[in-house]
């Protein structure tokens, strides 16, 4: 690991009022309580323009959100900066945040999505399903292990980092962008 600890921005986003859509914000809340050195935590309903400026001030940005399908308990995927977009809404996608950080602020921030599997999204209720809670705990433990014992950049380079063992499901969390999750 580099002598200088990498600075990490964890952006947890989603709507806590829509059941498991609150997984990203819940992750942000729990990681903030850990007070991990070098880690800045932000929560929001969705990604927005100014997140690019915040991302540009860090070595690594992790976009944590709920996923409606895909791997349990979570997937951890590398994100490339977008050089173009096919659509635009008020909300930005992680690729766009990285692209803007790069184009507007000259940043070379590495980006990853942490997609925590959720199961229920279509009601107004501020709670997580039991399985989503379990997935959240696994994701928090993962973030903690990497931040305390390794580096996300090392994880990206080597596929593993000190202290980051395979979880019980024997799942490798780092996959190239676009690779199908198990």
């Amino acid at each position: 690991m580099n002598e200088r600890r990498e600075t990490v921005l964890l952006l947890g986003y989603g709507n806590p009022g829509r059941l498991d859509d609150g997984l990203g914000a819940a992750l942000a809340a729990q990681v903030e309580l850990l007070a991990l050195p070098g880690v800045t935590v932000q929560a929001d309903y969705q990604l927005c323009l100014e997140d690019a400026e915040a991302a540009a001030r860090h070595d690594v940005v992790i976009f944590a959100d709920a996923t409606t399908s895909g791997a349990d308990p979570f997937s951890f995927l590398r994100v490339d900066a977008a050089s173009s977009l096919g659509f635009s809404t008020h909300a930005l996608q992680p690729e766009a945040v990285l692209g803007l950080a790069q184009q507007l602020f000259g940043a070379r921030t590495d980006g990853y999505t942490l997609g925590i599997r959720g199961y229920a999204f279509n009601e107004y209720e501020e709670s997580l399903t039991d399985q989503a809670r379990a997935n959240l705990a696994a994701a928090v433990a993962f973030i903690r292990r990497v931040c305390e014992h390794g580096s996300f950049r090392e994880l990206a380079a080597n596929g593993s980092a000190p202290g980051v063992g395979d979880p019980p499901e024997q799942q490798s969390y780092l996959r190239p962008r676009g690779e199908v999750e198990p």
Partner: protein
């Protein structure tokens, strides 16, 4: 096939309109001669939120309602707090509470308008409606006009920091409470904002110039684009000035004649009603005295500029006069003029922020008042997208037993449908959804800056799919982005 459709009709479906926000769908109905006979903008608005609030203690509501919207939670926070002010008898706020809330609100207006203009609107304006969609977006703006894009980012950030300082945090703030606020603005916070203020004013002024120059120089194209005559509604101050935080309701017709004026917020229900239509989740509000057919109206920046007699900040007032001169002082009914109006409001918001930051009342310590309790309250603010109404009744245990919310996008439901129909009639050729038509439908909807972010937005839910169906329901064509 839609059983309501005659067999000779063809239905074109644009589903969902993700380039606007979240989940929406446009259907365009053709007759046998391939002419547009009907368009419908379907917006999947989740109406369950009002029931979700029922049973909650009134103190929770201003915080809880922020879950409604990822873009303007502050507007819901303030509208709910104003309604609860009435219920706790605390509507006559202390100067510190009133000014802290206004500062929060102007911060919200400033950041939201900056976000819309630089992120969603400027790609259309800078590159043209027919530009490649891979370029016509915020990344394209960043590549071609990096200084402008940085301005957008920093203006949005400035507004967000104002919200953080007044509401306690950027999202899910708690600053406004029934009868007042729970914090004032420290000298340190104030001085931090003052350091960036001149730059923000300069950029806001520049944004007005961009929107004005674009509108004026492209007037021949923009004047008919998605445009139609309409009524307009907003809050205005007692003296007729634009007031985005408080005031009374005023509605005018397309020529500027007053339909009603200085209606207290608590009486809104005597003047407005909502119609349910079977094909849409979203209601259609209308002015009662005109009925559902003629009583629809527009809200938001264009309506506010049209309804106000003047703006009480000098630069925005000068910009308003220039804006109104375009339509000889009569209401401006150009849909695309929303963008210019929006930037005038952005300039007004930063002028208001400047005035407030120099006001020592923001450092006051008298934060909350209470008075005679009531069981019902209405709170109305002019949110970035338009008039936002929160109406609650509570029981003896202070629990909400009734909630009715009319959000800006709902007020603009009929106008957005009409804008889509106008564009479809003007630009649809044959039975194929061309990229040009799709772009223009989106541009017309986007002028209203609709916000559907109460829908979930988990990773990977943003496809744009376009379907063309024949009269039997068979899919003739599908396009996705």
């Amino acid at each position: 096939m839609d059983p309501a459709l005659p067999a000779s009709k063809t239905k074109i479906v644009i589903d969902p309109v993700t380039r606007v926000e979240g989940h929406g769908k446009v259907t365009i109905l053709l007759d046998e001669a391939k002419q547009v006979v009907q368009t419908r903008l379907h917006i999947v608005e989740f109406r369950g939120f009002e029931r979700f609030i029922q049973g909650r203690p009134l103190w929770e509501v201003p915080v809880l309602v922020q879950r409604l919207c990822g873009i303007c939670p502050v507007s819901h926070h303030l509208a709910a707090a104003k309604a609860m002010d009435r219920i706790v008898g605390g509507e006559n706020l202390t100067p510190t509470a009133s000014k802290m809330r206004r500062l929060m609100h102007y911060g919200q207006i400033f950041q939201s308008h900056a976000l819309h203009f630089f992120h969603l609107c400027s790609p259309d304006l800078l590159f043209g409606f027919d530009a490649d969609v891979r370029i016509r977006n915020v990344i394209g703006v960043a590549a071609r006009y990096p200084e402008l894009a940085v301005q957008g980012v920093m203006m949005r950030k400035f507004g967000q920091e104002i919200i953080k300082a007044t509401a306690g945090k950027k999202i899910h703030g708690t600053g406004a409470i029934p009868g007042g606020v729970n914090k004032n603005l420290s000298i340190q916070e104030r001085d931090g904002f003052l350091g960036d203020l001149d730059q923000m004013v300069t950029w806001a002024r520049g944004a007005v110039g961009i929107a004005r120059d674009y509108t004026v120089s492209n007037l021949q194209t923009l004047a008919p684009f998605g445009s139609f005559e309409s009524s307009h509604m907003s809050l205005v101050r007692n003296d007729g000035a634009m007031d985005l935080y408080d005031g009374n309701l005023r509605a005018i017709d397309a020529l500027g004649n007053k339909i009603f004026d200085q209606i207290p917020c608590q009486a809104y229900i005597d003047y407005l009603a909502e119609e349910v239509r079977p094909w849409s989740y979203m209601k259609f509000p209308f002015i009662k005295s005109l009925g559902p057919e003629r009583g629809w109206y527009r809200v938001g920046p264009l309506a506010r500029i049209n309804t106000a007699d003047f703006i009480d900040t000098p630069e925005a007032e000068a910009a308003r006069r220039e804006f109104m001169a375009l339509s000889d002082g009569k209401p401006n009914n150009l849909t695309m003029a929303y963008h210019w109006a929006r930037m005038i409001e952005g300039l007004h918001a930063i002028e208001k922020i400047r005035d407030l930051l120099h006001d020592p009342d923001l450092q006051g310590t008298d934060l909350v008042v209470k008075g005679e309790r009531r069981e019902e309250g209405v709170g109305i603010v002019e949110a970035p997208r338009g008039t936002l109404i929160h109406h609650y009744r509570v029981d003896e245990q202070d629990q909400v037993v009734m909630a009715n919310l009319i959000v800006s996008t709902t007020h603009n439901n009929e106008p957005m449908n009409r804008a889509v129909q106008k564009v479809a009639k003007d630009y649809l050729s044959g039975v194929e959804i061309t990229e040009g038509l799709l772009n223009r439908v989106e541009v017309a909807i986007r002028a209203y800056d609709p916000c559907l972010s109460c829908a979930t937005h988990a990773l990977g839910q943003m496809p744009l799919t376009v379907e063309l169906l024949d009269h039997t329901g068979q899919v003739l064509d599908t396009k996705s982005t």
